[in-house]
Symmetry: C2
Subunit: 126 residues, 2 copies
DNA sequence: TTATTATATGCTCATATATTCATATGATGA
DNA sequence: TCATCATATGAATATATGAGCATATAATAA
């Protein structure tokens, strides 16, 4: 319930923040909480070196689990577990061909996000 | 040490992967390991709902700690801890004005990444 | 100086998560 | 059918991490 929020009046921090007008303006531009959660979950899925390795590799080419293991020099269960995470997050999709399962990115946004992130990293490395 | 990697020959999975030619092609497009680590660290910094809330808010306006607390309805130490994480990751910067410390994004990439991620989230919500 | 306000930080607990091993499942071919 | 290969999964363990409390620091004003 919002009672008072008279404009511009500086109130004490502990309760309401110092700049109610700024807060109000920012608040009106905030996404719904649910969307923020989904967004942080998306980034969380990128926030692990194994998964980023997987995703970068898949941004080059569809790959089977086995090849991913060789590429990342990691054990098969570790790779499979991370693939499951990525699949549950709807970031990758899979396709079975006989015994082999091929994984690929489920969306073009993913590759764009990764490239943009790398751009940032490289510039920071300066 | 690479000894053999004769072209196209399908080898057994456990050791070398099934498709050595594909692996080689992807491998040549992989960034250095260090960069992948930095990239996953970057995304890790986005991978928490508190931090994403902070970052989205800062993408609208520079804000002081106090206002962020009010905006996110979170306790001050929690917000400060996350701000420290973000600062160490060089994602936000701070500026002191008397007792008040204002935080803002340290780089335009950050806002772009967040918007692009949100685009993805909204489309998936379909 | 002391008091007050805004922010930072050390410590702890609880929880989340990544990897490993062992094993299960699924597909193929003998 | 059985054996083999590729992948998936359950359980256990180790590590990472977020939030809370208490308290420290920094700036200002009385």
């Amino acid at each position: 319930m919002k009672t008072d929020s008279s404009q511009g009046l500086i109130e004490t921090c502990a309760v309401k923040g110092i700049h109610p007008d700024v807060i109000a303006r920012v608040e009106s531009n905030m996404p719904e909480a649910v969307h923020l959660y989904e967004l942080s979950d998306l980034f969380k899925a990128f926030g692990d070196s194994t998964r980023i390795g997987i995703l970068w590799a898949l941004s080059i080419s569809e790959l089977c689990v086995c090849d991913l293991c060789a590429l990342l020099k990691m054990k098969q269960p570790a790779v499979s577990h991370q693939l499951r995470n990525l699949k549950q997050a709807r970031i990758v999709k899979s396709r079975r061909e006989g015994k082999v399962v091929f994984y690929s990115l489920d969306d073009e946004h993913v590759a764009r996000l990764i490239r943009l992130g790398m751009e940032h990293v490289r510039e920071q490395g300066r």
